[in-house]
């Protein structure tokens, strides 16, 4: 059996799902737009962070294609910079959550018995917690009290803090998925053979079992990106995530409620970007699941 055959089969099955292919195209366009943000900014001759109180809440025009926000900043360019933040946080936090979840799920599924029971009770406990209030408590911690000054104030620290916070509570779904997938694997002949040949538990888990879990893990990452983007956006909306002047789709909506009477456009657009991105990742994840799962259809 060659490694290429199942992959080619999965690709063919994926290609037949029009919705998932559409989602992939939407995401590709979004990534291109996010990458092009500085170019668009230069081409339009606007500045994403420059406040201009004389140009507050302007309607769309030749200079500002989507108008300006409550501080006179260009909405289109801020949306594109927001895309960078959301995609960066989404991808990194989903990968971080997946790493934690994979280690927990794999250990649980491979060791079984009491270790499995303890780990899964722990996972269930974390899963049952009210995530958002806890994230709010975590996000409200004053970094000056934890980190040395130059680190505490930097933009990158702000980004990574959100990534870490979200990943800390977001790994549970992955852990359950990986556990149930690995349960089926550990009784298979090649795993028993490796154990019989004297391979250690860690070696078997990571060299023999893990590579066979790649497809559920890819699905888990894709599906958790959407969840992570939602969490980041709500924290930023509440003023506890990405801090202005850095644009994020969530913090662009923070003031939207007060100005929804005058400029409804400002309340609609950033949310639309969040929604389209999240649904695209969810549809893509669902499509991948069907493509990888031979029982599908």
């Amino acid at each position: 059996m060659t490694a290429g055959a199942p992959l080619a089969l999965a690709l063919r099955r994926f290609g037949r799902q029009r919705l998932a292919v559409g989602a992939l195209i939407v995401l590709a366009v979004l990534i291109l737009l996010a990458a092009a943000a500085p170019l668009v900014e230069a081409a339009l001759g606007v500045d994403a962070t420059a406040v201009d109180l004389s140009a507050r809440m302007r309607p769309p025009s030749a200079e500002h294609w989507l108008g300006t926000d409550e501080l006179g900043r260009d909405v289109l360019v801020r949306l594109l910079y927001g895309a960078r933040v959301s995609l960066f946080v989404g991808l990194t936090a989903a990968v971080a959550a997946t790493v934690i979840g994979t280690v927990v799920g794999l250990t649980s599924g491979y060791l079984g018995g009491r270790a499995d029971a303890v780990l899964m009770r722990f996972t269930d406990s974390v899963l049952a917690l009210p995530a958002l209030p806890l994230l709010i408590v975590l996000a409200a911690v004053d970094l000056d009290k934890v980190l040395p000054a130059p680190l505490a104030g930097s933009e990158l620290t702000g980004l990574l803090r959100i990534v870490l916070i979200v990943a800390l509570l977001g790994w549970t779904t992955v852990a359950r998925l990986v556990r149930s997938a690995s349960l089926a694997l550990v009784r298979q002949d090649f795993v028993l053979a490796a154990a019989g040949a004297g391979a250690g538990a860690l070696g078997i888990m990571f060299r023999h079992v893990l590579p066979n879990l790649l497809s559920p893990i890819v699905v888990a990452v894709t599906l958790s990106i959407g969840q992570v983007i939602l969490l980041e956006s709500v924290l930023s909306f509440l003023g506890l995530g990405i801090q202005p002047p850095m644009a994020s789709w969530g913090n662009m909506l923070t003031n939207a409620q007060e100005i929804v009477w005058e400029a409804p456009r400002l309340a609609v657009l950033p949310g639309l970007f969040i929604f389209v991105t999240v649904i695209a990742f969810n549809v893509l994840g669902d499509g991948l699941q069907d493509a990888f799962d031979p029982r599908a259809e």
């Binding site: 919705l19 958002l132 949310g271 549809v283």
Partner: protein
């Protein structure tokens, strides 16, 4: 069953203790402890005064000692005062709990009432256009940011149409219809934010149930199709669904926090958020723990329902 119940209770207590310790430590790391606030309010306070005040308040003691004295006081019923509300902490929490229940229960009831038939329909017609349509709608539901959904509903029903209030809560003693008018938009937001996930759970559980042998034998015995679906299969699909509902309570409460904040609904979620933002740590800690405790309790109740719905689960058996 008793042993199982006791083990689960013990586990919930451990989780609560861990959360209380972590939150206590984290809240000590937030900006503006009581001394900071005092210094900010009065520039004449010197560094020596600050040291003296910290010692007086016990803030110079190691964190675990402070946590221990907080915990023993809290277990003795000394929960302290709220800085924001200037009332004993429990008074503020009590009112907020009632408001959250008022928002959450109708939202949850409607959400389940919509999810059950839709999920069953999609499962029964799995693979057809109906199934695909339900699936797409469910995806829309789980992908909508709830705070934005709330903003959109405000935009349409309060700003453009002017039918419903944009937020807040009816005055005490107002007629019931007035209370309902304030409830509609936040409850709809919360409902729409949860129903998509529930539909997917019901569908998955129903597909699993319809695959079982007893369904085939029920059909073979000539049971009417409607009876097979709504009695035989649904009863067995309900078991995993109730468990997931229990596990999802935390998610539901997170949704309530967002909804309450957007609609200025004075419930538990908004209380916790405002307390954290407003440096009201006494209140934040107690409210967070009470919310978490209730969620864990709901979880436990869901597990009990599980045992009641599925007679195969008996004394001592882990779910």
């Amino acid at each position: 069953m008793t042993r199982f119940l006791l083990a689960r209770l013990a586990q919930s207590v451990v989780v609560l203790l861990v959360i209380s310790y972590l939150s206590y430590v984290l809240m000590g790391l937030m900006p503006g402890d009581p001394i900071d606030l005092l210094v900010g309010a009065d520039p004449a306070v010197s560094a020596a005064d600050v040291e003296r005040l910290r010692a007086l308040q016990g803030l110079d003691r190691p964190i675990h000692e402070r946590y221990w004295s907080w915990l023993t006081a809290a277990l003795g019923g000394e929960l302290g005062h709220s800085r924001l509300y200037s009332t004993p902490v429990l008074d503020a929490v009590g009112a907020a709990l009632a408001n959250t229940a008022l928002l959450l229960l109708p939202a949850l009831a409607v959400s389940v009432a919509i999810a059950l038939p839709l999920g069953v329909l999609a499962a029964y017609r799995a693979g057809t256009a109906v199934d695909r349509l339900v699936n797409v709608l469910a995806f829309v539901g789980i992908s909508l940011p709830q705070f934005w959904l709330g903003l959109l509903l405000i935009l349409v029903f309060a700003v453009v149409l002017g039918w419903l209030p944009a937020g807040g809560i009816a005055r005490e003693g107002a007629p019931a219809a007035e209370h309902v008018r304030y409830l509609v938009l936040p409850a709809a937001t919360l409902m729409l934010g949860t129903v998509g996930g529930y539909v997917r759970y019901v569908r998955a559980a129903m597909i699993e149930a319809l695959r079982q042998d007893y369904i085939r034998s029920a059909r073979a015995r000539g049971a009417r199709p409607a009876r097979v679906i709504w009695v035989h299969a649904l009863r067995n699909a309900l078991t995993p669904f109730v468990t997931i509902l229990g596990l999802d309570l935390g998610l539901l409460f997170s949704g309530a926090l967002v909804t309450e904040t957007v609609f200025a609904w004075p419930g538990m979620g908004r209380l916790i958020f405002e307390a954290v933002i407003g440096n009201d740590y006494n209140l934040a800690l107690v409210a967070l723990l009470i919310a978490t405790g209730l969620i864990l309790l709901g979880n436990l109740l869901a597990d009990l329902c599980h045992g009641w719905l599925d007679p195969r689960i008996r004394a001592g058996a882990a779910p």
